[in-house]
Symmetry: C2
Subunit: 120 residues, 2 copies
């Protein structure tokens, strides 16, 4: 069974906590699931928490960058929370700057930032 990443809907936000290293297939499945979920729920915000991830490879980093851009195109604001030092280093070294992406320390702060941005 290929594990899928659960996407929780809480009011007008989607919450995702990635708690294990993703393989390529799971990452692509996640991308598809998240975009479908944004469409179906009319979510206006997405918080992706990657606190548990302490290693990211170039493929996963690209998928993550892509899914953020795609979500934005669909009208949802994305906050990435819990980027570990090693992940930040990898992202910058890979040239993935996640520009214009909101980031926060943890899920709570991410949600607060999102609500401020959405003007709640």
């Amino acid at each position: 069974m290929n594990p899928r990443i659960p996407i929780l809907k809480l009011y007008d936000c989607l919450l995702i906590s990635i708690q294990w290293e993703l393989d390529d297939q799971t990452a692509l499945q996640f991308q598809e699931d998240l975009l479908r979920e944004i469409h179906e729920t009319n979510a206006s915000g997405v918080v992706i928490d990657i606190t548990s991830i302490d290693f990211i490879d170039s493929f996963i980093a690209k998928v993550l960058g892509d899914v953020i851009d795609m979500s934005k195109l669909m009208g949802a604001k994305v906050v990435i929370t819990g980027i570990q030092p090693a992940v930040a280093i990898t992202l910058i070294e890979l040239g993935i700057r996640l520009e214009n992406v909101l980031t926060a320390l943890d899920l709570e702060k991410g949600l607060e930032k999102l609500h401020r941005e959405l003007g709640d």
Copy 2:
């Protein structure tokens, strides 16, 4: 890789969304993970959303009943949300009454019920 069920910490609550049928090993791993997480985070409430589950067997039902009792022993209130008709039927037919367990229709209502119970 054996998939684990992500447990999200949001303020003093833990949120879990079970979005696929559990196999026995994953269910036991979840039980262990949840209890450890309650201990580590001092969470006072837990919401387990099973909206996506439309079939539950006797082993999984027992693990779910057990984890609720265990969480209570550790001092955390548990709300189960999104019990589907077929799951409700199975639970009652198996004699698992989830007595004294709070239930709610969805994650939002579950959190609200939990906050009322916790007196927030």
